[in-house]
Amino acid sequence: MILSAQNISKVYQDSHRSITVLDGADLQVKKGELISITGQSGCGKSTLLHILGLLDDSDTGTIEIEGVRVNSRHPDAPYIRNSKIGFVFQFHYLVEDLTAAENVALPLLIAGKKIAAARDESLQILARLGLEDRESHFPNQLSGGEQQRVAFGRALANKPSIVLADEPTGNLDPANSLEVWKLMRQLNEDLGQTFVVVTHDRELAKLADKSYELSGGKLTLL
């Protein structure tokens, strides 16, 4: 098991009321699976993904990554985020001041790879994603689809155990959205890469191996 989440709950408090977004959600992800999670806006999909990615803490429950119990306050959390988990966000979150190749090289550099080695590796990743001629382009010189592919390249740079994608197609047109899904499927089949993808698009979600719906704070296998 790559990732195991048990009884995850999360309650947001504001001055007037408390909102329960996760209420005992469970998720098991095996190596090589492509899993989608759907649900209505505001149902807690992104919150769940952030908790799974050790970016946020749950109020109850446990998370194990490759059999090791962890949370966002664990001393090794930065190392795990760097080496075991890849992230892709809706708004791609590329560093505007860095080129496509430099963006992809960031996780490698954080892991301690030498600058030249990280650059060579990032160029290979971009080539695999069909972006070899875009390596020196800055994010604002790339199309939305290209930016998202660079974001996938960055997520895959350290060959993580699992890639967590939060609405990766949420900001793209239908054609580019389909391209991104095809890319994930191709990486899943070619490299055996594990994905957990949060999306509000039920049609695209059906392209996954397993599809869950988050409703009432619980995950239900569709």
Binding site: S72, P78, Y93, E96, D97, P107, L109, A111
Partner: protein, 405 residues
């Protein structure tokens, strides 16, 4: 340094236009450049003043003076003893017997207390004050004098004019009181050492005239010694040694007080401390720039943290960028400071008041030690001003950064 930190640092250096030129840096850079240039210029000018004063003092004054212990003129036996004992000392450049008389220069309007000095210069040797005679000639015959240029200005005298010197003859008491003797001398040279007091009050004449004024046949009042450059800073110790060698009836002492130079050096470092506060004030802009930058870079901080960078690594990445800009600003400030001090020296509007500062000419000197001192102090202040606000990166939660980009 970690790979990611080295990568960003190189990136800042390779693409300064894209990575370093930000509007929020403008006032930060200006503050550092201005404060560092003022600090550097102040230090350069004080260093120049200290060195010029030392040079003028060492050039104008004897380094060691030997006089009779009883306050009278040297006897022939004492003079011979001095010459025989010290004549072959390798550290001594010149050994000049002289007579010095306090008297007054007068005309119908002005009265000025002066010192009439007469030197015995060995045959074939240059007059040691010769290099300071800027107009006329240094050699004087009986009835001729070289006078300080400020004295000449005050009395409206030029080469060829006559100056009247008044000396009270204490031995000639009349029923009307002490009789005074007035002599007239022809000015044959003007003296400018840069030491204000000398340039205003020194008169150099012949030994014959000096003895005639004093009604004495005694040879000399004192012997003045100039040391070579290697020993000039040890004048006090050397004088003590000579005193032991010469015997108890003679006193040897350095007429230049080391305290003066020590006070000037202390003033220089006081100025340095005071002007360093300007850099600290400029540091407020640095604090503001760092805070603004952290807000501007929330996205990037979120990305780096999500990708596994620790808060400390992110802090260093941000700090290097600001520090690089600040270090460039410090270097520019130092260069501007050098130009500023040069301008102050070259400008013709302001001169030092000689009666206050001993010398009347502004000088500047750029020393490696001072450059390093300014650089180190400014850098430390800037590092502190960068470090304090950057600590807030530790308190930023990744999830807040992602949810509120």
């Amino acid at each position: 340094m970690k790979s990611i930190e080295r990568f960003y640092l190189l990136r800042y250096i390779k693409s300064p236009k894209r990575m370093l030129m930000r509007f929020s840096f403008v006032f930060m850079v200006l503050g550092i450049v201005i404060s560092v240039s003022i600090l550097s210029a102040g230090l350069n000018l004080f260093e120049g003043y200290e060195r010029a004063l030392k040079t003028v003092l060492l050039d104008s004054f004897a380094h060691i003076k030997i006089e009779s212990g009883n306050g009278r003129f040297l006897s022939r036996e004492q003079l011979d003893r001095i010459m025989n004992t010290l004549g072959d000392k390798p550290e001594i450049v010149s050994l000049t017997p002289n007579i010095g008389i306090n008297l007054m220069a007068i005309d119908s309007v002005n009265t000025r207390g002066c010192v009439f000095n007469a030197y015995h210069t060995a045959e074939g040797k240059e007059l040691h004050y010769g290099k300071f005679v800027v107009e006329g000639r240094p050699q004087v015959n009986d009835g001729e004098v070289v006078i300080g240029h400020y004295l000449a200005e005050e009395f409206g005298l030029g080469i060829g004019d006559e100056i009247s010197l008044l000396y009270p003859q204490l031995r000639r008491v009349t029923p009307l009181g002490v009789s005074s003797d007035i002599r007239r001398f022809e000015v044959v040279g003007l003296y400018r050492s840069g030491y204000y007091e000398f340039d205003r009050s020194l008169i150099i004449g012949t030994l014959t005239d000096a003895r005639s004024i004093l009604f004495t046949d005694d040879p000399f009042a004192a012997v003045e010694i100039k040391l070579d450059n290697e020993h000039v800073d040890k004048a006090k110790e050397i004088a003590s040694r000579y005193r032991l060698e010469l015997g108890a009836d003679l006193i040897a002492y350095p007429p230049i007080s080391g305290d003066l130079l020590r006070i000037v050096a202390m003033q220089k470092w006081l100025i340095f401390i005071v002007f360093s506060f300007l850099v600290l004030i400029a540091g407020i802009n640095v604090i503001s720039a760092v805070s603004t930058m952290i807000l501007d870079k929330k996205n990037q901080i979120a990305i780096l943290r999500t990708l596994g960078a620790t808060a400390a690594t992110v802090r260093r990445v941000i700090n290097y960028q600001i520090l690089l800009v600040c270090l460039i600003a410090i270097i520019i400030g130092q260069a501007l400071g050098a130009l500023l001090s040069l301008f102050v020296v070259k400008q013709g509007f302001y001169r030092l008041k000689g009666e206050v500062y001993f010398i009347d000419k502004l000088e500047h000197h750029i020393s490696l030690f001072n450059l390093a001192a300014v650089f180190v102090v400014a850098s430390i202040l800037v590092i502190i001003c960068v470090w304090i606000p950057s600590r807030q990166i530790n308190r930023l939660k990744i999830i807040d950064l992602i949810r509120n980009p």
